[in-house]
């Protein structure tokens, strides 16, 4: 037992002595290699085995070098490392760790350098590739074009790409292990690069500084202050890593901020999965994501960081003749000209900064607006909900208006009515239909309303838009009965003329205004649902004395004019309606009852009824309308 203990002590002592001896020798006089040569601190010609010279953990032939100069260097931690510089035609072959790794084919004008640690791991390298080829670093195959300058340090590979050369994504050598090495390609300043997506589409990248595209374990990224990808400009003033891909998808897996583009399906996404804001993304003319940028337009978005991840996605719908559909999730900021919607993370509401660009990290002199439909979502106690009330969405008009409502086909902008026509109840609106956002013409009128327009006068765009707003205010079932709108100016005495399916408005006789248009549309609808004692509408209307007075004005006493004179007052000021609906007015119940019958028979929208009834503190819900109708029936009989 004592013998064994003694032998063990001797072995340990011997091992310690030998190790110390080697280190001392390596630091001073060089090491005799496996083939008996002293290889350090001098130029070596020919191929030598240097494995044990670099690390005692290696076999001598684990690393072979040719035409080299080898020295030991200390680093900050006083660990001793081995620097191998290669002379002309020099190379290194590393044979350990299952794979052969060769480092050759260099441009030798600057001596290629390699640094190994005490374990024999290649930890640093610096060289210029003499041919285009793949070099292995850690678990990565790194593509380097000819004349590409490679610097490998601290687990990161940086490759300076010569002009006109391509790059390829690094691949894992051992597919079962993660590829942890970060690879950053740096392009010459001013160079424009095309990167190809899996679907074959090319994306053009450029930057005002040298373009930097990297690959790490998360994905592909850039870290430029600014980057242009086709017609999308990305501002990243702090040069953060911004991951990107060509999927056009929301990705909660990136541990950082990202952009995802897919021009094949016209979708763009930018997001932040950390508590930092993403880059500002500015859309320029002819982008692939359905953001229509005209002369003075400005549109940019940013996903804002917070406790929860956030994103802004943009889907082109130009093929459907609609503006882009934008979806936001949690924090976001937008510049839409000088009107800037954003998500207030404190009160979790979508707010709007008026007359101010919220995103200031780009030259945003323009203040024109773009059209878009925006759905905003937020996380509240882990549940994803609409950031607006109910099913409301936000719609941007090309003219700068913003509306929030349930139907993006048309949302009235309640702050913007046709007061200049004396019609505060007729609103301008916003719509996701491109036809409503384009400069108004008879063509856009037809596309938006579905009604054929025959304009023999040459109406101004302003008048056409006004008529579009009138038609948009009509309940859908009533609008379906109007097939044609004729604008005329020939010799005649009428201002408006209605036939089944047809409205005629006379410009010089005062026909092209909201009142007349509404009046004639009402006739057309009346011809379908009324003008017959047996119709449901006429029975309801007559049961409250609708056809009998008092009317909105005297013309209502003319045959078939009771309904149209009532409807042309829908847009009138609330003061006028308050006078008719207030309980002080003797016939208020008849006026109230008419509103109910109008809503039920699609002469008036419920929203319009709500406006009128609000003048006397009533609303337009089902129960109220039913009650008002019954009260009108009960009171009917006292007038005529």
């Amino acid at each position: 037992m004592k013998k064994i203990l003694f032998i063990l002590i001797i072995v340990i002592f011997l091992q310690a002595f030998l190790q110390a001896n080697v280190v001392i020798a390596a630091g001073t006089n060089g090491v005799d290699s496996g083939d008996g040569n002293l290889l350090f601190n001098k130029d070596i010609d020919g191929e030598k085995k240097i494995g044990r010279g670099i690390s005692l953990a290696l076999k001598d032939d684990d690393i072979v070098a040719n035409n080299f100069h080898m020295t030991k260097v200390d680093d900050e931690k006083t660990e001793i490392r081995t620097l191998v510089k290669l002379n002309q035609d020099g190379y290194i072959n590393i044979k350990y760790k299952e794979t052969n790794r060769d480092y050759k084919n260099f441009d030798y004008s600057n001596a290629p350098k390699f640094v190994f640690d005490l374990n024999g791991e290649l930890i640093e390298a610096e060289f210029v590739a003499g041919i285009t080829r793949v070099y292995k670093f850690e678990n990565s195959n790194v593509y380097v074009p000819k004349d590409g300058k490679v610097i490998f340090k601290n687990g990161e590979v940086e490759v300076e790409i010569p002009k006109g050369s391509e790059i390829k994504a690094p691949r894992a050598i051992d597919k079962d292990k993660p590829r942890t090495t970060s690879v950053l390609y740096k392009f010459a300043k001013g160079e424009i690069k095309k990167l190809k997506a899996n679907d074959g589409k090319s994306y053009e990248f450029s930057s005002s500084e040298e373009l930097k595209i990297g690959f790490d374990s998360e994905g592909v990224y850039f870290e430029n202050k600014d980057l242009k990808i086709d017609e999308v400009l990305i501002k990243n003033p702090k040069s953060k890593k911004v991951y990107f891909d060509f999927k056009g998808e929301v990705n909660g897996d990136y541990r950082g901020v990202y952009v995802s583009l897919n021009k094949n399906n016209g979708k763009f996404v930018t997001g932040s999965n950390i508590n930092e804001n993403g880059p500002s993304v500015i859309f320029t003319k002819d982008n692939d994501y359905g953001i229509i940028i005209e002369n003075n337009d400005d549109f940019s978005v940013r996903a804002d960081g917070g406790d929860s991840s956030s994103y802004v996605s943009i889907q082109s719908r130009l093929d459907k003749k609609k503006s882009a559909l934008i979806k936001t999730y949690n924090g976001f900021s937008m510049n839409k000209g000088k009107v800037s919607p954003y998500f207030n993370v404190k009160n979790k509401k979508v707010l709007i900064k008026i007359t101010e660009h919220i995103l200031k990290d780009y030259d945003n002199k323009n203040d024109g607006s773009v059209e878009a439909e925006v759905e905003c979502y937020k996380t509240v106690e882990g549940v994803i909900t609409n950031a607006f009330t109910g099913k409301n969405v936000m719609v941007f008009g090309d003219d700068g208006r913003i509306g929030v409502g349930p139907n993006p086909e048309y949302i009235k902008v309640k702050s913007d009515s046709y007061r200049e026509y004396g019609e505060p109840g007729l609103y301008r609106g916003v719509s996701h239909w491109l036809a409503y956002n384009e400069p108004p013409t008879t063509r856009t009128f037809k596309r938006f309303t579905g009604v054929n327009i025959n304009d023999k006068v040459g109406l101004s765009g302003e008048k056409i838009k006004m008529l579009m707003d009138v038609f948009a205010s009509i309940p859908r079932p009533a609008l379906k009965n109007v097939k044609n709108l004729n604008i005329v100016n020939h010799w005649t005495f009428w201002a408006g003329l209605a036939r089944p399916g047809e409205v005629n408005l006379h410009l010089n006789n005062g026909g092209v205004d909201p009142d007349t248009a509404r009046h004639e549309i009402t006739h057309v609808h009346d011809m379908v649902v009324g003008w017959s004692e047996s119709s449901k509408f006429d029975r309801q209307w007559d049961s409250i004395g609708g056809a009998e007075g008092p009317h909105t004005y005297d013309y209502g006493y003319t045959r078939h004019e009771d309904t149209s004179t009532f409807s042309e007052f829908i847009y009138k000021p609330l003061d006028w309606w308050r006078g008719r609906l207030s309980s002080n007015y003797k016939y208020n119940k008849k006026f109230r009852g008419r509103i109910a019958v109008f809503v039920w028979n699609n002469f008036m929208t419920r929203d319009e009824a709500g406006r009128l009834l609000s003048s006397v503190g009533l609303n337009s819900d089902d129960n109220t309308l039913e009650r008002l109708f019954k009260e009108a029936q009960e009171s009917y009989g006292g007038i005529g």
């Binding site: 009965n481 009428w494 201002a495 408006g496 209605a498 089944p500 009046h519 011809m527 017959s532």
Partner: protein, 204 residues
């Protein structure tokens, strides 16, 4: 039970989708003193359903699409021979005078869903007496020429819409085929499901 209801729901939806026709006979009609004459017929495509003007009180007529004596389609319409005009006081902006006119002569168009085996269009008066009959056998089957016909159906100046509409037709046909195949599969599954259910109940 829920699954069965869901399948039946999808089944009904698909049947409705397939039966929803997008092609219409566009029948150009001239009425003179209530005598109706069909002037021309063409085929048009419309994504939206097209209704004809109809009011019980207005000269009720019936239009039928027939294949021999089999009625493929039947719908009511009214001759739109009424008009109402309004005169304004230009100073006050109020209407002051107006009148309803009954027109003796009127041209209008009727739209009736297209049938591949439709051979005749027949119009009847309110007493179910035949008024006019028009042979439409030239449109018996929708073939490539339909593109030309659709072109005719589109207003001048709307040329670019033609292509869009023809493209829509092509897309719709593929869509309808897919719907049809899904429908057949669903029917088979439904039968299998119901039979299986019955067998199960028998066993119980």
């Amino acid at each position: 039970m829920k699954t069965k209801l869901l399948i039946i729901g999808i089944f009904i939806f698909l049947v409705q989708s397939i039966s929803a026709s997008n092609f219409y006979y566009d029948v150009s009609v001239y009425s003179e003193n209530n005598l109706i004459n069909i002037q021309s017929v063409k085929i048009i495509f419309s994504q939206a359903k097209i209704d004809n003007f109809f009011n019980e009180n207005f000269n009720k007529k019936t239009i039928k699409i027939k294949s021999n004596e089999k009625i493929l389609e039947e719908s009511y319409f009214s001759v739109p021979n009424k008009e109402i005009f309004d005169i304004k006081d230009l100073e006050t902006g109020d209407f002051i005078e107006g009148e309803v006119n009954e027109l003796e002569n009127v041209s209008f168009n009727l739209f009736v869903p297209y049938y591949e085996d439709g051979k005749e269009i027949v119009i009847y008066d309110e007493n179910e007496q035949e008024v006019v009959r028009k042979d439409i056998s030239e449109y018996l089957k929708l073939d490539k020429d339909i593109e030309g016909e659709i072109g005719k159906g589109i207003e001048a100046g709307e040329g670019d819409l033609v292509k869009r509409k023809v493209d829509s037709i092509k897309k719709i046909s593929v869509f309808e085929w897919i719907l049809f195949i899904v429908l057949v599969l669903l029917v088979l599954y439904l039968v299998y499901y119901i039979m299986g259910d019955k067998n199960l109940k028998k066993r119980k």
